[in-house]
């Protein structure tokens, strides 16, 4: 029994490391049949929670270090070698802090809000294909599931903001909801382009559709097509807004409304919000990787010996680093500008992109000489022209000009 247990365990680890299909079969079969499903589910859930929670810890450190370097500081370097244990110290601090509930707060909703936020965020990981053989649930409507659980996080932010009985919290919650609803539309439409081309709502199938290489080195990732590139950028911007990251950190703009819906949270509840926010960012970046960057696929054929989940994590971290970089550079938008940008720029651009993707799909039957290049240029032009035009009207509407200044002697 014990020998089998360790054999199964070893086999499972070996299969994970070498990226083989069905890694948990042998290990699960060690257990009695009645608890086998539970073990199997646990074996999927626990690693996800552990990996992404530690990724969260790592990212907070990376973010602080990276921002520090961008700002010509050293960043945290006191706890442990190179400050590596800083997240541990932060976590301990968070856990030992007093949990303050405002006197006039709605205590039940105030308590429920962080939980209601965290649960859907974690659920979203259920459909992401982390590796070649690592999909918790290969659902037929995977992407729909992802957006459905993503949409239910908005309610919890409202709960947090409203129940705190703080004006800043309420303002922050209203801003958060307005922002998340507005940006959900471009987010979904830009994903729809991919769904349309791949012809499936299943994330596994979408990754499969991006296999193979042009000319032996350029992978068939969606981002390398005109509509894919535009869609990727729209998706990134929208996901910045969805995860409340700078320059769209308006709901928690600390210089305006203290911390928005987080103002009255402290201690462990605050840590939960923080965790959920980062997990949400990972999830949406993971979706971006899956939809546009070929998921777990290696960028070059000879790199395919590296296990697939490594590629997934690398791409994910690349996006996270991009988010940190953006955060270190840009000031925050104003609420009305944010909504204008969503409705007057992002939405038309994503609709145009959808149209371009359809054209791309229909021109795939072109068969003359230079068809590939012609198709590429046509689609790129169809995106670039509206981009320039929309960008100009977006700026021009507000009478924003390049100014020159007078000088008196």
């Amino acid at each position: 029994m014990i020998g089998e247990f360790f054999k199964g365990l070893f086999l499972m680890i070996w299969k994970v490391v070498t990226d083989q299909p069905d890694p948990k079969v042998e290990f699960v079969s060690v257990f009695p049949a009645t608890i086998q499903p539970i073990i199997s589910v646990l074996l999927s859930i626990v690693p996800i929670i552990m990996v992404f929670a530690s990724l969260f810890a790592l990212t907070t450190l990376l973010e602080r270090k990276g921002l520090g370097r961008i700002q010509n500081r050293l960043g945290p370097n006191r706890v442990g070698p190179f400050g590596l244990f800083q997240p541990v110290a932060d976590g301990l601090k968070m856990l030992t802090k007093e949990d303050i509930v405002p006197h006039s707060a709605d205590k039940l909703i105030h308590f429920l809000a962080p939980i209601v936020l965290l649960v859907p965020t974690l659920l979203a990981y259920a459909v992401l294909p982390f590796g070649q053989n690592m999909v918790p649930i290969d659902m037929d409507a995977g992407i729909l599931f992802f957006f459905a659980v993503g949409a239910s996080t908005e309610l919890s932010i409202f709960m947090a903001g409203w129940s705190s009985r703080n004006k800043y919290s309420l303002l922050g919650a209203m801003r958060a909801i307005a922002q998340m609803i507005s940006y959900e539309i471009p987010l979904i439409i830009s994903s729809v382009t991919v769904i349309m081309i791949a012809g499936s709502l299943s994330l596994v199938e979408i990754v499969d559709k991006q296999s193979g290489y042009h000319f032996g080195f350029l992978p068939h990732w969606n981002v390398f097509t005109p509509w894919g590139l535009a869609g990727f950028i729209i998706f990134l911007i929208a996901s910045l807004a969805e995860s409340n990251r700078s320059p769209f950190d308006i709901p928690e703009a600390e210089s305006e409304i203290i911390a928005g819906h987080l103002t009255e949270y402290s201690g462990f509840k605050y840590a939960l919000f923080f965790l959920a926010e980062y997990l949400g960012m990972f999830a949406v970046s993971g979706l971006a990787v899956t939809l546009f960057l070929g998921g777990w696929r290696a960028p070059l054929p000879f790199l395919e010996i590296v296990p697939s989940y490594i590629w997934f994590l690398l791409k994910l971290m690349g996006l996270v680093c991009l988010f940190i970089w953006i955060r270190g550079t840009l000031p925050r938008l104003r609420v009305d500008q944010l909504l204008n940008f969503a409705w007057k720029f992002m939405l038309p651009m994503s609709l145009i992109n959808l149209f371009v993707a359809a054209i791309w799909h229909f021109t795939s039957v072109w068969n003359f000489r230079g068809a590939g290049l012609g198709r590429w240029l046509l689609c790129a032009a169809m995106i670039a022209v509206p981009y320039v035009w929309l960008g100009r009207t977006l700026i021009g509407n507000k009478k924003i000009t390049h100014r020159t200044y007078r000088f008196a002697n």
Partner: protein, 408 residues
């Protein structure tokens, strides 16, 4: 309707039931004012928020009682005095020299110019004339102070705009170099207490001038970098252009001075008007804005920094040798003859003036500061009406206040 306890607004009697309250909410901290149109029909509610004195972006202990319609400001009442230190009364009960270190603490970012303004008025009172080298030193330190102040201002403005400290850190990186210079000169990094009636306390060394030249050379490179990061950034441009417009008329009537006035397009710079010190010897221009919005205020400051660099280059090149104190000046037992004087300079924030009346005793009979921060703050409400909460913060940032000077 505004209770004194910050953050815990008193409840107005009957109006508070309009937003559904959580159950068990004993007292509300929402002050909801019913909003009615001209015809008396109801049009939703106004929310009264106390921003400050513990708000992250009020630049110190400053409070704005803001009445909001949604996110738009319909009323704003600045409340200050949290940092009142009785500066003028203290100065009247101490010697003339004794209030010099207190002037450092008015606008703690620009101690050098505060020193100069005070020294200038006492010199007028006592009829002292600083020697030429001292005048050059004063101009060098004052222009360096202007660089420090404007850089920090832009950094803080961007911080208020949510740029998460990056421009602020760059600003502080450069400020550090100038603070090093000031420390080497006066011994302190912020509270210099450097100028004396009739001259300066310590002489510059040749070494110092070399270092200052290097810093000034590096500064124009830094300004290029800063502008690349900020000036064309679409977010900054759209956040600031057309926001918080200050009309020329109002600016003049409210006696606004400094970069804020010039951003509204009025050509008024005391360096040119009074030609105090030896400013008439230097070749520099006064940048003027045409719109009077936050963007203009930002750009005027950047352009002024470039002009300051020009002045510094000239001053560091031309500085003559010689004494740094008027031989008539006395440190101990300084008693100017009875009379009055008003000395003013173009501080980085605006016209900084000291009005003194002497009755022949060692203490001033009357001592009065004209603080540019406070007077520029008086138009805050006019600039903020109709803008959003997010704009209030950057408008306040662009006014450039230091609470040490506002409250005194």
């Amino acid at each position: 309707m505004i209770s004194d306890a910050p953050g815990q607004m008193g409840m107005t009697s009957e109006s508070a039931s309009q937003v559904p309250l959580p159950e068990g909410a004993g007292q509300s901290n929402y002050t909801v004012i019913p909003k009615t149109s001209a015809e008396g029909t109801s049009e939703g509610e106004l929310l009264e928020v106390a921003m400050g004195p513990q708000h992250p972006s009020t630049h110190g202990v400053f409070r704005m009682d803001v009445v909001l319609d949604g996110e738009h400001v319909v009323k704003l009442k600045p409340v200050f005095g949290y940092l009142h230190r009785n500066h003028e009364q203290i100065a009247e009960s101490t010697t003339y020299l004794g209030s010099m270190p207190y002037t450092d603490r008015l606008d703690y970012l620009c101690s050098m110019t505060n020193n100069w303004a005070y020294a200038l008025s006492v010199e007028k009172l006592a009829g002292l004339q600083p020697p030429e080298r001292a005048e050059y030193i004063r101009i060098i330190t004052a222009e360096l102070t202007r660089l420090v102040n404007h850089t920090c201002l832009v950094g803080f403005l961007l911080q208020d705009m949510g740029a998460l400290g990056t421009p602020l850190m760059y600003a502080f990186r450069e400020r550090e170099l100038i603070l090093d210079l000031f420390e080497a000169l006066s011994g302190s990094r912020m509270m210099y207490n450097y100028m004396r009636f009739g001259g300066c306390r310590v002489d510059l060394s040749a070494d110092w001038i070399e270092q200052a030249k290097q810093v000034v050379d590096g500064y124009s490179r830094f300004l290029d970098e800063f502008e690349k990061l900020l000036t064309e950034n679409e977010i900054l441009v759209s956040r600031t252009q057309g926001v918080g417009v200050l009309t020329v008329k109002l600016a003049i009537n409210a006696s606004i001075t400094g970069p804020m006035l010039r951003a509204s397009g009025v050509n008024y710079d005391i360096r040119k008007v009074d030609k105090y010190g030896i400013y008439d010897r230097f070749d520099f221009r006064i940048p003027l804005g045409d719109h009077g919005d936050v963007y203009d205020r930002y750009m005027i400051r950047v352009l002024e920094m470039r002009e300051s660099v020009k002045i510094l280059n000239q001053a560091l090149r031309d500085i003559p040798a010689g004494p740094i104190m008027d031989p008539k000046a006395k440190i101990r037992g300084f008693r100017p003859k009875a009379g009055e004087a008003y000395g003013r300079i173009e501080g980085p924030k605006g016209e900084l003036g000291f009005y003194l009346i002497s009755d022949g005793s060692p203490n001033p009979y009357r001592y009065r500061v004209r603080p540019p921060s406070l007077i520029n703050l008086t138009v805050l409400e006019d600039m903020c009406l109709g803008e959003t909460v997010a704009d209030v913060v950057i408008i306040l940032g662009s006014v450039d206040i230091v609470l040490g000077e506002v409250d005194r």
